[in-house]
Each structure stands twice: as structure tokens, then as C-alpha cells.
Assembly symmetry: C2
Homo-oligomer: 331 residues x 2
Amino acid sequence: MELKKLGEFGLIEKIARSAGAGFPAVIKGIGDDAAVVRSSKTQCQLLTTDTLIEGIHFERALTTPYLLGKKCIAVNLSDIAAMGGTPVCFVVSLSIPPKTPYEFIHKLYQGMIHRARAFGVSLVGGDTTGSRDHMVITVTVLGTARTDRVIYRHGARAGDRIYVTGFLGDAALGLLLLQRGKALSRIRLLVAKHLDPMPRVAEGNTISRMRLASSMIDISDGLLADLRHILKESQAGAQIWLNHLPLSPQYRQHWQEGADDRYVPALCGGEDYELLFTVPLDKQKRVAALEQACGIPVTCIGEITAKQGALKVLDEQNREVAYGKEGFTHF
Amino acid sequence: MELKKLGEFGLIEKIARSAGAGFPAVIKGIGDDAAVVRSSKTQCQLLTTDTLIEGIHFERALTTPYLLGKKCIAVNLSDIAAMGGTPVCFVVSLSIPPKTPYEFIHKLYQGMIHRARAFGVSLVGGDTTGSRDHMVITVTVLGTARTDRVIYRHGARAGDRIYVTGFLGDAALGLLLLQRGKALSRIRLLVAKHLDPMPRVAEGNTISRMRLASSMIDISDGLLADLRHILKESQAGAQIWLNHLPLSPQYRQHWQEGADDRYVPALCGGEDYELLFTVPLDKQKRVAALEQACGIPVTCIGEITAKQGALKVLDEQNREVAYGKEGFTHF
């Protein structure tokens, strides 16, 4: 069997099974936004890694080395945020073609260091190697959390409401319009969401401290794709209410396709790096306090249902809507 | 300036400078075998990462996926060992061409998981992505240690004796003879040292627990190259006694070049993954107990001198010997 046919998620599952149990320090291994490892009676360490490959995850022509560096860090901080944790430090492994201009590498590291520093996170090590012909950037972030406050993908229960921070679909829409040749000056805010995402670290921390969420994940592959991870781990279903999806003013302005396609980037577009979380009914009244603390919209977009694996998208008339493309798969 | 001209070590230094200080949790950032980050009053976390690139660090034709997996873990465990720490878990980022046979990936992961499990270390996460045309494997290991027992590169003082675990040069010699077409069956033990190195985790732990070493590093780039790191961080010099270098029976049997070249693989060959450490004179008598605890040779090969940066290699008649090639540089 070739890898291509197995697909990314199948591969990860097979590996997770063979990695097996029997390690008492490991609270959560493969299968969440970050691994959770006990480090003392009350504290745990969070570990997450992400790789960006030139020609697959980024093109040098469509970004700057500084923004690329920032993004490498942001996507990893987002994983720590999705556990309710606090990022501490990172290591970076960089494989670079020998002819890469030094200036590029310098700016790339500057972007990483600056984005990290803004969150109190420091570069503590790494490995630089020559690659053959394209750049590969792997960042691993170490974070910390109180063990009893970590939020996993597996805690959602029927009746819980589904929330997201910020707006959905801007990043995907920004990339799409850029690829269609739209003038950058007219879509700057959307493109910024794609090139320079802001990880919701403070928001994840606040959600954890308020003990608000029964489950949480960050939206990297798209709302529906990432919600499916929560549903799978929680053995639950969900319905999403189309007319509740938080769309930014820029999104509404620039995305005037037919009514059917109106919500596609918000439902299926990846790289929003917003937090998607579920809140039990009896804690819902505290969401207003969360929104105030965060200073960004926190929106209820649906609810968890009992029917395992069933994910329904409903329009204003409560009619089910079908969407084919559900996120980005690597193989 | 092109990266090629700057060289790997120059690049790392420039980055270390710009990463800067001001992070109270970070005890040691860039510049040792692993980063050291405070996690409680007495404990710290160790973090290290290493990348192996197909066509640069390995060739599929010269190894098996299972051995390759084992080696990816071993080289990282070796870095934790060199700090005197205990490895806990690892994440792996794998970039694989889409046409890679599933069997290859499966065996690769098996190798990683088995080598890790033998040291009580578990796979807790990772990222698999499609690459364009060759494989890139990045492993990051999280370890732990008592903060007051971590051993750094910077503690060597004039008069300290220099020790190594095990034998030197076998891995480099194994690779060299393999490349020269020597029959595998005749050099199996040497080749095994290259393809399937054994990290000295228990040994590093014992050295740390016995508070024996003033500085330590693992030998990945070659004895002289790695000793230079200790000298630089310790602002010291050293002399190495050629006729004290521990050479394995296989090394002596298969390496009968002219007298001048006799010690080259042992001095300059990389990938031994033995521990190189310095012991203050007053603790020397405890090395015998260490050797007994470890069950492998622990050999005094020289001493630290006061002359900063001066690294002399002396023959039996105490005459200085010059060696040009001092390890492997990536760019």
C-alpha cells in the first residue's frame, strides 16, 4: 500500500495504536493538539510540533521571510492555546538549500523570535542542516499547564453549545482572492489573516482558567474538519447553524458569490487559528465575561448532539445543507 | 552573504545572540546539547531536536527503515544523556514523498518506537506531511533532570582530566569501509556502530548522579570537533594523548593504514555518540566505580589546559601531531 492511499489521518491512527500505552508520565500522547506529560503533582508539560514545507505549505514568492517566521511560531502557539496552556519556549529545525541568501534566514529567525517574544516564549535551540533543494521548517513548542485545567478534544457532551473565537474564513478567503489576482491593497486585512495569523493564547488561557470548556481545538484545517476531531474523540455529533457563523466585515464585502457558496471559506477554509470549543449549558452565561476579557467576538455557532459522528449544517430555515470539501488533507 | 559561506556554527551563533536573554525560566538556551528550562523549584526540562535528511544524512540504499528509525531516536537521546538527564518522550515530524511505500514508514516508526521504549521513552505526537522529493525526519525529545545535576559544556577547568565512554572511531570507520566496498560480513560490528548507535543514557545519568563531571558533551561531529565546543564554552585548552585513545579490537584489526592516519577516524570521525566529559583531579579515583557501574570502558584520553582555545594532540613521545580534518560541517 502506498502512503498516498492511506492518507494522513489513517497513518497517524496506525502509529498511535503502535505507540501504545504503559508510560505513566504520559497523560495524553498522539491525538490532541499537543501531548500532555506530567512534570509534577499539579503541573504538566505540553509538547507540539508542526512542519512547513516550501512548495507545499508556503511559497517564497507569496510571503516574506519575516512573516513566514512569525507564522511558523503562531501555528504552534495555537496548538498550546487549544489545550488551555501557556507556551514557554521553542526549538526550530531548519533545512535550507545551501544557496539561500543569509538575509532570508536572518529575517526568518527574526520573525520567529519576535512573534514568540510577544507571548513570552523564547528560542532555546535547534538544528540547521543543508537541504537539497527546498526549505523545511519544523518548530516544536514546549508549554506548561495545571494538569487539572488542560482542555482536550474528548470532553464534549450532547447539549453543549459550540463556540468560536474571532471570525471564520478570512485566511482562506485572503489566499483565494490573492491567487485570483485581486489587488493586495484591497484585501490587506484578509491576506494578513492568512500570512500572519494571531494565536489565541490569552483566550485559551482564560477559557481554561474559567473552566468554561468541555472540549477545545484550534481551527487549522477548517471548521468542519476540526469539529470532526472533537466529535470523534468525544463520540458525539453536532449541528452547525449557518446564519450564526461569525463573518468579518471584510469577508462580507469581498465574498459575494452565489448564496450556496457564501459560507464555504468559513466552513471549510483552513488556517483561521481561532479556537473552537464546547460549553456545557449551565456555564453559558459566563461566555459574556469571556468575550469581555478577550476583546474579540466569541460566538455560539451550534450545538453538540448525541448521534455519534453526525455533523449537520443547518440553514436559517433549519434545513440541512451539504458541503463536500471539508478541509485540507496532505496526501 | 550566502549561507554557504557563513557556515553552520556561525549561523547558530548569530541566532543565539539575537534570541537574547530576559526569559527567567530558561536556564540554558542555544549552545549546549539540549536546552534547559526550569519546571519547578528543583526540576528542569531538557529539550533537543535533530534532523536527518535523505541524501545528506542517510541513503535509503545504505540502511533499513527500521535501523533508520532507531538512529533518529538514538541521536536525540544521546543529547539528553550528554546533559546527565533522563529522556521522557518525543515528537516526530516526518516529511515524506507521496510515493513512499507504506511499509517503509511503518518500519521507520517501529524502529523509533522500539529504540525509545528500550529507554522508557514514548512517542507522544508529531506531524506527517508530504514532501516534494526526499524524506526529512525531525525528532524532538523532552527530558528531565534535577536542576543542580545538569552537566553543561562550560564547566571544564585547567587540570581536569578528559574522559570518553566506549570506543572511538568505529562508526566513521564502518561507514568508510562500507563505502570502499568491504564485505559487510567482515565489518559487521563497525557498521553496526554507524547504523545503530547506542545512546549512553544510563552512563550519562550515572555521571550526573555521582557528580563526577565538570563538563560533558556527546561525540556526534568527532572527538576533536566536539571537544572544541567544551573548550570554547569553558574558555580553556586541552591536550589529547594519542596512545590513550580507546580503539576497539575491530578498529585495530581493520584500520592498518600508515602510522600517520592510524588515529584519524578516532579523532575526527563523527557519530560515535559516546560521552566526552571532564573530571576534576580530586574526583578521578571515582571513575573506576563509574566504569564498573556502566560495564563499558571509560578512558582518560587527555587533560584540560589553561590556554584558551589551544587544542594539542600529542603522540607517545609527547610530540605535537597536526590533524587537518576536524569533523563535519553542514554547509
